[in-house]
Symmetry: C2
Subunit: 191 residues, 2 copies
DNA sequence: ACTATATGGGAACAAACGTTCCCAAGTCAA
DNA sequence: TTGACTTGGGAACGTTTGTTCCCATATAGT
């Protein structure tokens, strides 16, 4: 069995079972041989290539390859040739976008108030709670009982205002209550 | 040990080791007791709650909780109270955004040609190769040797044109060569 | 003080694990 | 045919695994 195919089948096993197979599972369910020795030999080869990783206990562990997306440069540069493809950097969406998972939420955007920041109704905002906002951050705030998404601006004199990214909407000067509940860490638009 | 804390420590183990711990590892490195019986009892409780899952072989397996993000409604609805929080839907970024991982790439956007579609320079496009484009899709195309991101439009008579989302840019009427290399499945903007 | 009950420690077991070793079968050159 | 070498099957080893069981201790009730 070719080592690329072996890798693909191990990845399929990983996606199905949410864990890596044991050597015997690879032997019986993937390679379909009867040889432990040969199976370990093929697996060791993948480990040497860096496609798979092993624990201190010898257990197989997924590498980034299992969960990552290939990262190209710019649109204008287009796609690399198959030969160059192996040199590509990779990145997992989770590690890229999520810092503290337990404090991260998805919120759907409604309305046009941030349209000039490229945030449109239907977009999904990834927000993180319990983080100190800085000037210029986009925040989810509860002001006088209403929830909005706005730019967080600190005026001279440390006064806080919430600025929309749409001149048709008013800047908010909080009177009584202003709670910054979360700051927007990413905007995702799925087609 | 409280079961919520136990879950958090198991999740930390999972993020560190990219695999779930065994019962003995939980006993020695997480609960720090000497009792197998008590450890299994606590783990079984988490399995009953649906926080952990088990294989047919009894091996622990991560649930969606380990990799998912809580999904709220709309910005205007704000955050639920801690009591309501347990009812929230969850979703993993990978399963949401990626269909065929091996054909999915990240590309950085340069230029203003799609600005009116809310796609700005610096944004990251998630693109998928080998998929048939439909009218209205945003595609990565190689036309007459140059790479661009444009709307894919099918005119009456089945003629294909590439339309920018910015009136200052020209619509492209491919002369010789037009290769649709990928279609854009998501736009991600990280702050 | 004396039971009855609940709790946690830890030994024990069979299965599954990674790893190594030996040997039969195959391959190749001379 | 012979001998050197490679290959794959599979037994065997020690460890780790999930699971169960027994018993000493703690707790509570009378």
């Amino acid at each position: 069995m070719d080592s690329i195919i072996l890798y693909q089948k191990i990845q399929a096993f990983y996606e199905d079972n949410k864990r890596m197979p044991s050597v015997r599972e690879i032997r019986d369910r993937i390679i379909r041989t009867k040889s432990m020795r040969k199976t370990k030999e093929l697996v060791d080869a993948l480990v040497d290539e860096g496609v798979l990783r092993r624990d201190k206990k010898g257990k197989l562990t997924p590498t980034n390859l299992f969960t990552s997306v290939k990262k190209l440069g710019f649109v204008e540069a287009g796609f690399p040739s198959p030969a160059e493809e192996e040199l590509l950097d990779t990145m997992t969406l989770d590690e890229w976008l999520i810092q503290r998972r337990e404090a991260t939420y998805m919120l759907e955007v409604k309305g046009q108030s941030m349209i000039n920041a490229g945030i449109r109704p239907g977009d999904t905002a990834l927000v993180e709670r319990g983080k100190q906002p800085k000037h210029g951050d986009i925040v989810i705030a509860c002001v006088d009982g209403k929830w909005t998404m706005k730019y967080y601006h600190i005026l001279p004199g440390k006064k806080i205002v919430l600025v929309p990214a749409n001149p048709k909407f008013p800047t908010i000067y909080p009177k009584e209550e202003l709670r910054i509940e979360a700051i927007v860490t990413a905007i995702i638009r799925k087609y």
